[in-house]
Symmetry: C2
Subunit: 82 residues, 2 copies
Amino acid sequence: MILAKIHVTLKASVLDPQGSAVTKSLHALGYDEVEDVRIGKFLEVKVNTTDKKVAEERITEMCEKLLVNTVIETYTFVLSEV
Amino acid sequence: MILAKIHVTLKASVLDPQGSAVTKSLHALGYDEVEDVRIGKFLEVKVNTTDKKVAEERITEMCEKLLVNTVIETYTFVLSEV
C-alpha cells in the first residue's frame, strides 16, 4: 500500500478570498503580526499498489483529471509505503 | 518574517464525506486501486516576527482559537524563516 500526501495550493497570482477573511479574523483577535494567509488543500490518497513508479504516474493523472484545477492551482506530492 | 505551514486533518475516528465522494469519483474514472481518500486543509500563515519561540506560541494559539476545530480536527505545523 502506498500513501500519497498531496498539497494543492492556489497559484501565487490568484486571489485567495478565504485566506483574506482568515487574515482579517486573526487581526480582529489581536494577532496583528499576521501578514498573509493562504489556504490550500491537503489530500491523503491511499492506493493499493506496491510499485512506486506506477503509483507516481497514476497519482499525477488523478491530480490532473480530478483533484486539482490546474488553471488556478498547483500541486506537489510525496509517496510513502504504509 | 516567519512562515508557518499548518496541516489540519480530520481525526481518524471522524467520517470524511468529502473524501468518500472523491474516492467514488476516482473509482468511476477507473482508478480502482484507490483505497481511501482523506481531505484536510493546508494553511500558510506569514507572521511578521523573527522570534521562533514566540511565533510557535502565537501560531498554536491561533490554531486553538480560530483555525482548527479541535473537537474533530488535529493539526501540526512547521516554521521556517522567509
